[in-house]
C-alpha cells in the first residue's frame, strides 16, 4: 500500500462516525471550497477613499516603508530618479515587462538607466507595479510573471513599488476577490507576494535590524488618489 493510501485510509477511519455518508461529507467540503465564505473583516479597513489611502500610508510607514504621492504615472520616473540621488544610489533601476511601467517616460529622467528582466543579484534598485495594496496592514501585493519578476522583490537593496490609489483596498478579503477576478477562482499566479515593509530580523538578542536577506529599504509611490 502506498503512503498516500495508508494515510488517507487512517484519517478516514478515525474521522468517520457510524452512519456518516462519505457523500455528505464530500458535499460539505465541496460547498465550502466553492463558496469560500468570508469571515470577520476588521472595521478598520472599511474606510472611504481618501481615508483608506491615508490608513495604508500610516500602516506602511509604521513598518518602516517610505511613502510618496505623485499625481500621474508619467510623474513616476522623475520621483524615482530623485529617490535614488537622495539615497546616494547609482541612477539605475531594473524593471519587468509591466505595460504601465513600460509606458512611463523614463528617457525624460536621463541619465536614469533602465534595465529589463529578472534580477541576477547585481541590481541595487528595482521597480515593481503592485497588483493591489491592503490598507489594514500597509501591505503591497505583487504577482509573479514577466511583468514583475519575483526576484525584483527580494534581491535589490532598494525596492520601489508603484501602486495606483484605486488599487488600494481596505482589507485582505477585497484583495482576494480582486485576485479571483484576475486569475479565476481557484487559480493563482506562481508566486503571490504580500510585502509589508523592508526585510528585517530580530534574531540577535531580539534587536530589530532592517535589511536581513531581502531589501534594506522599501519605497512606495502612490499614483493618483
Amino acid at each position: 500500500m502506498s503512503g498516500r493510501d495508508a494515510i488517507l485510509g487512517r484519517l478516514k477511519r478515525r474521522l468517520e462516525r457510524e452512519g456518516d455518508l462519505e457523500s455528505a461529507r464530500a458535499d460539505e467540503v465541496a460547498r465550502r471550497l466553492d463558496d469560500a465564505p468570508a469571515g470577520i473583516i476588521p472595521a478598520r479597513g472599511q474606510l472611504p477613499g481618501g481615508e483608506r489611502i491615508a490608513l495604508f500610508q500610516r500602516m506602511a510607514e509604521a513598518v518602516q516603508a517610505s511613502v510618496e504621492h505623485v499625481a500621474a504615472m508619467a510623474d513616476v520616473p522623475k520621483a524615482i530618479a530623485h529617490q535614488l540621488s537622495q539615497r546616494n544610489l547609482p541612477a539605475a533601476v531594473r524593471i519587468g515587462a509591466d505595460a504601465a511601467l513600460a509606458a512611463m517616460p523614463w528617457e525624460a529622467s536621463a541619465p536614469l538607466e533602465v534595465r529589463h528582466g529578472p534580477s541576477d543579484g547585481n541590481d541595487l534598485a528595482a521597480v515593481s507595479h503592485a497588483l493591489a495594496g491592503i490598507a489594514e496592514t500597509g501591505t503591497l501585493v505583487l504577482a509573479s510573471g514577466t511583468d514583475n519578476p519575483t526576484t525584483l522583490n527580494f534581491l535589490p537593496d532598494l525596492h520601489i513599488v508603484v501602486v495606483e490609489a484605486g488599487d488600494i483596498d481596505g482589507d485582505m478579503e477585497a484583495v482576494l476577490a480582486r485576485i479571483r477576478r484576475k486569475f479565476g477562482k481557484g487559480t493563482m499566479p506562481r508566486a503571490l507576494n504580500m510585502v509589508a515593509g523592508p526585510s528585517r530580523s530580530a534574531d540577535i538578542e531580539q534587536t530589530l535590524i532592517l535589511g536581513a536577506h531581502g531589501p534594506r529599504a522599501l519605497h512606495v509611490v502612490i499614483v493618483g488618489g
Binding site: G3, R4, A6, I7, L8, R10, L11, R14, L15, R25, E28, V29, R32, L33, A36, P37, A38, G39, I40, P42, A43, R44, V63, G96, P118, T137, T139, S144, G145, T146, T150, T151, N153, F154, M172, E173, L176, I179, G186, M188, R190, A191, L192, N193, M194, V195, A196, G197, R200, S201, A202, D203, I204, E205, Q206, I209, G211, A212, H213, G214
Partner: protein, 473 residues
C-alpha cells in the same frame, strides 16, 4: 533530532545554573509579552478572530482526508508533485531522492520546524549534501551545532558575543581584525555569506504555514525574506508540511493570518506572506523549475479523534512559550526535543512516546497563561493534566512523586480530612513565613525554593474562601 526529554530534570537544573542562558532568557519575557498585548488590544475584532480561527481548524480537521485530497488535486493541476510520508524516515528518503536526482550538492533551507522533527539536516549531510540554514537564527545555531530553543526565535538563547565568537570561528576567510561589535555588522556578514548560497544551491527547502485546498498553494510567512530567496533561486523547491497545515480557502487563511503574527511577535502582519503555487510557468522569467510538497504524517493521524486532537490546531506562533513561567526559567533546550514550552509538553509525548517524554507535562505551574494567549484556543493546561494522569496511571513517575500524589489522592478522596489537613498546613505555614509573606527556603522543598520564592499562604484555603463567598452571596 536526538531525543533528550527523558533527562528533563537534569536539563532543567543545568539551565537554571547557566548564567549566560539566564541572561538571554530575559529577552523573551521583556520583548514578546508586551508586544503581543499591544497588537491584540489594537484590533477590536481580535478575540472574535480567535474563535473563528479555532472553528476553521476544527472544521478542517473533521474533514482532513477530503481537504488533503482536494489540495493534492490542485497542486497537480498547477504542475507540482505531492509526496506522502507516513514517517520521518519516509520523509527523509523522499527529500534525499529528489536532491540526488538533480545532483544537488548544496541545499538552502528556510525555517522549518518539521525539518528538525524529521532530522533532515543530519540525513542530508550523511549523504554528502550540504544543508545551509538561511534564517539568521537558524544559521547561528547551525554553526553552533545546536537545535532551536524556540519555535519562532530559534537562537533566543544565544547572546550577541556568542554570535561574534561563532562567526569568527566559521568565517575564516574574512579579516580576523574586523569589527563585529554591533548586531548590524553581524547581520550584514551573514547576509553577504548567505546571498551566495542561494545562487549556489540546486534545491531550496521551506516549511509551510498553510496549504490551501482551494488553490493548491503553500504559504510561508517570514520577516527576513530568506524563505523567498530559498524557494525562488533554486532549481527545485521542496515544501515540507505536516498534514494538519491544510486549510480550506484563501479567506480562511486570511482569518488565521490576522491572529498569527499578532500572537507571535506583536506585528499586525509579517513582512512577507508568500503564496506559492506550482513551478515556474512557461512565460515566467524566474522561480523554480520543479515544485514538490512532502506531506508528513509522523504521528498526526493517530492524534485525530483522540484526547489530543485539539493540539492539531496549533499554528506554531510561540505565544504559549513566550508567556510560560517555566519556559522563562529554563528555556527551550531543557525540553529535550524540537517543541518546547506548553505546546511541546503536549505535543512531544503525542509524537514520541510517554516513556520518553512523560516528564514534560509536569513542567507546568498550571497558571493558565498559555491557554489565555493561544490564538487557536487550545486547552493546553487541560491536556497537560491529562498526560499527567496517564503517566501516573502507568507508574512512570519517580517513586517520590508518586508517593506525594498518592498522598494527595488519599486526602482528596476524603473531603473532611482534606479540609482539616490543608487548613492546618496553611495556618502553620502562615505563621512561619514571617513578615515578608514569602519563604526563601523550605525544608523538603529546597529544589523548588532554590530558584524562586514560594508565596506564603495567606491564612485561608481555597475551599474556606469559596465557602465564605457562597455564604455571602
Amino acid at each position: 533530532m536526538q531525543m533528550r526529554s527523558p533527562r528533563f530534570r537534569e536539563n532543567a537544573r543545568e539551565a537554571l545554573d547557566n548564567a549566560q542562558l539566564q541572561r538571554a532568557l530575559t529577552n523573551v519575557e521583556t520583548n514578546f509579552v508586551g508586544k503581543r498585548k499591544a497588537a491584540a488590544d489594537a484590533l477590536p475584532e481580535f478575540e472574535a478572530l480567535r474563535d473563528k480561527a479555532r472553528d476553521i481548524k476544527n472544521h478542517t480537521l473533521e474533514h482532513l482526508d477530503l481537504y488533503l485530497k482536494a489540495y493534492e488535486k490542485k497542486v497537480i493541476e498547477a504542475g507540482g508533485h505531492v509526496h506522502w510520508a507516513e514517517t520521518a524516515e519516509d520523509a527523509r528518503r523522499i527529500v534525499l531522492g529528489i536532491c540526488k536526482r538533480v545532483n544537488a550538492k548544496t541545499v538552502t533551507k528556510g525555517k522549518s520546524i518539521v525539518s528538525e522533527e524529521i532530522g533532515l539536516n543530519e540525513h542530508l549531510s550523511a549523504n554528502g549534501i550540504q544543508p545551509v540554514e538561511t534564517d539568521l537564527g537558524e544559521y547561528i545555531i547551525q554553526l553552533r551545532g545546536e537545535a532551536p530553543s524556540h519555535i519562532i526565535a530559534p537562537a533566543v538563547h544565544v547572546n550577541k558575543s556568542e554570535v561574534e565568537t561563532e562567526f569568527r570561528r566559521a568565517h575564516t576567510h574574512l579579516d580576523p581584525n574586523r569589527n563585529l561589535e554591533e548586531p548590524e555588522t553581524l547581520l550584514n556578514e551573514a547576509r553577504a555569506i548567505l546571498r551566495q548560497k542561494y545562487f549556489d544551491a540546486e534545491v531550496g527547502i521551506t516549511g509551510a504555514n498553510f496549504l490551501i485546498a482551494e488553490t493548491g498553494s503553500s504559504v510561508i510567512v517570514t520577516n527576513e525574506g530568506n524563505g523567498d530567496l530559498t524557494q525562488t533561486l533554486g532549481k527545485v523547491h521542496i515544501v515540507l508540511a505536516t498534514l494538519e497545515k491544510v486549510t480550506p480557502t484563501l479567506e480562511d487563511v486570511s482569518q488565521i493570518l490576522r491572529v498569527l503574527a499578532r500572537s507571535a511577535t506583536g506585528q499586525d502582519t509579517s513582512v512577507y506572506t508568500t503564496f506559492s503555487t506550482g513551478p515556474r510557468r512557461p512565460e515566467d522569467p524566474d522561480g523554480p523549475e520543479e515544485y514538490h510538497v512532502v506531506l508528513i504524517d509522523n504521528g498526526r493521524s493517530s492524534m485525530l479523534g483522540g484526547d489530543y486532537q485539539d493540539m492539531l490546531r496549533c499554528i506554531r506562533c510561540g505565544a504559549c512559550m513566550n508567556h510560560c513561567p517555566v519556559y522563562h526559567a529554563i528555556g527551550g533546550h531543557a525540553y529535550g526535543w524540537v517543541y518546547p514550552g506548553p505546546m511541546g509538553a503536549v505535543l512531544t509525548p503525542s509524537l514520541t512516546s510517554i516513556d520518553e517524554a512523560g516528564h514534560l507535562p509536569n513542567a507546568s505551574t498550571f497558571c493558565g497563561r498559555c491557554e489565555s494567549v493561544c490564538p487557536m484556543r487550545i486547552p493546553l493546561p487541560k491536556m497537560m493534566r491529562h498526560w499527567r494522569t496517564r503517566e501516573f496511571e502507568r507508574h512512570l513517575q519517580p517513586a517520590s512523586t508518586r508517593f506525594g500524589l498518592g498522598l494527595w489522592a488519599f486526602f482528596a478522596r476524603r473531603p473532611a480530612l482534606y479540609r482539616a489537613a490543608t487548613g492546618l498546613m496553611v495556618r502553620t505555614l502562615g505563621l512561619f513565613s514571617g513578615k515578608r509573606g514569602r519563604f526563601a527556603s523550605m525544608p523538603f522543598a529546597s529544589g523548588w525554593t532554590k530558584y524562586r520564592d514560594l508565596p506564603a499562604p495567606e491564612g485561608k484555603t481555597f475551599q474556606q474562601m469559596w465557602a465564605e463567598r457562597k455564604d455571602a452571596a
